[in-house]
């Protein structure tokens, strides 16, 4: 070895030694005579928190039995819909829903007063689950198709409205439509005939109303989802004589945040519609961390098969958001429905469900 080289190395070593390694944490042996690594402490803290938070939740549950969701999860994942979101935390003054409703308060108008007792009852609910990007200046409620109302046909229609800069609805697109013909009840054949003759009665009524909507003007156009739910709820007077009709509008604003038009196609058996089974066990999807980090939101539509015992036996993606599909499938496979009966015999049914992933 070259002595000159060695000397240079030694000098360089001495130069390097001027930089001293930083001091590690002080030696602190606890009562157990052990060092505790920082991550061990963090883990212990996490365990304590994990125990304390549910206890707090239970405590809150006792104090406020109706309040069973915290603000963060409030709109994080809304499954199966409008009704669900509208039900969320009605008593929480700071909820996203209530904030939105303060901007455009929920309007519920009962028109039964205008109808003579014993005749049909119309009720129109307007609710905005989230603040729209543009204010709605004029809302028109759809008419319940009279023949459908007489026959007791219910429906759900979702439209996508295209709104121009002036705030005028320039186009409507039927995003989904579901008609419940109640085939297991009396007069089913009349309803089926009506539907065969007028398959778009509800969609036409909804479009006719939506085309009259007016939004405030803005610098650019936008799209906005509106959900129309036509339901028959027997009124106090009408109960004895005839069903009453109601149409619920739920505009869901924003093109970039599709929000909540969450509808399910009623289950099909051999191409026939049967009554939607009641979901007994619901498991919310877990928002995937990578999707959350990438701020991926939207609707995943699944077609699920429900076995005779009510469990979900299969789930197929119809509308895919790749980062969210698996979470949706994982959740729905844990759902349990009331077994669907056809002539008293449990049957397998298929159902379309939509899961809305929304970040706060």
């Amino acid at each position: 070895m070259d002595p000159q080289q060695d000397k240079q190395d030694l000098e360089f070593e001495a130069f390097l030694r001027q930089f001293r390694p930083r001091t590690p944490p002080a030696f602190r042996a606890g009562r157990l005579g052990r060092l505790v690594a920082p991550r061990t402490l963090a883990l212990a803290a996490a365990i304590v928190l994990a125990c304390v938070i549910p206890m707090r939740f239970v405590w809150n549950q006792r104090a406020n039995p109706g309040q069973n969701r915290n603000a963060n999860t409030e709109r994080a994942i809304a499954v199966d819909g409008v009704a669900r979101v509208r039900q969320e935390n009605p008593e929480r003054p700071d909820s996203a829903l209530n904030r939105a409703l303060k901007i455009i308060p929920s309007v519920e108008t009962t028109l039964s007063a205008f109808a003579p007792p014993g005749t049909l009852q119309n009720r129109v609910d307007v609710a905005l689950p989230a603040a729209p990007r543009r204010k709605v200046l004029k809302r028109v409620k759809p008419d319940y198709p009279p023949e459908a109302e007489r026959l007791g046909v219910e429906a759900d229609v979702v439209l996508r409205l295209s709104v121009n800069r002036a705030g005028v609805v320039t186009a409507t697109e039927r995003t989904s439509g579901v008609v419940n013909l109640r085939p297991d009840e009396e007069n089913a054949s009349e309803r089926a005939d009506f539907y065969a003759a007028n398959p778009y009665a509800f969609a036409i009524a909804a479009e006719a109303a939506a085309q009259q909507w007016k939004f405030e003007a803005a610098e650019s156009g936008m799209t906005c989802f509106v959900s129309f739910t036509f339901r028959l709820t027997p009124g106090a007077e009408a109960n004895k004589t005839a069903p009453s009709g109601s149409a619920t509008l739920t505009p869901v604003p924003g093109s970039s945040r599709p929000g909540l038009p969450v509808l399910s196609r009623p289950p099909q058996v051999d191409g026939q519609t049967v009554k939607s089974p009641k979901r007994l066990v619901n498991v919310n999807p877990v928002y995937p961390e990578d999707a959350r980090a990438a701020r991926v939101e939207g609707l995943v539509v699944l077609e699920i098969s429900i076995g005779e015992n009510g469990s979900v036996t299969d789930a197929r993606v119809i509308r895919s958001i790749p980062m969210l599909d698996q979470a949706a499938i994982d959740a729905v496979l844990q759902w349990i429905y009331e077994p669907t009966l056809l002539n008293g015999v449990p049957i397998e049914v298929e159902l379309t469900v939509t899961i809305n992933f929304t970040l706060q």
Partner: protein
Amino acid sequence: MTGLLDHQQVKTLYEQHGRVLLAYAVSLLPDRAASEDVLHQVFVKLLQGNVFINGSPVRYLYRAIRNAAFNYRRSHSREVELEADCRWLESPPGMEAVGLALESALRELPDEQREVIVLRVWGQMTFEEAATALEISPNTAASRYRYGLAKLKERLQPLPKE
């Protein structure tokens, strides 16, 4: 100090060698927190009193740190590495920029060269001792050291002349 170590002996080892052992761990791991964990894992094992040391405890410690660091790297290999928290040297006053450059240059060295440099420069080990700790031959340790030192010199060339 051969055999099982008592609490006081472990404490003395930690106080005397903890600093360089931590530097050694930092030279093998992406961040200081992980390095502290590894260092503490090794000392916790010693405190548990079930480690029989045959030979020099210091050599054992370096080897244990190295093994623990490699285990850590293997078990965390799927994690995404964030920006390295590599401040592990204290610079003399007025030489902070050189210190940063040195840390950066050390990080760019291959692991096997960096660990020999840490053991030799800051651990003040001979090549034989470093070779034992790393389970390599002294000649290999010396050549890795020289290659590493040459690279460091090259990287720091413009800086030490200030």
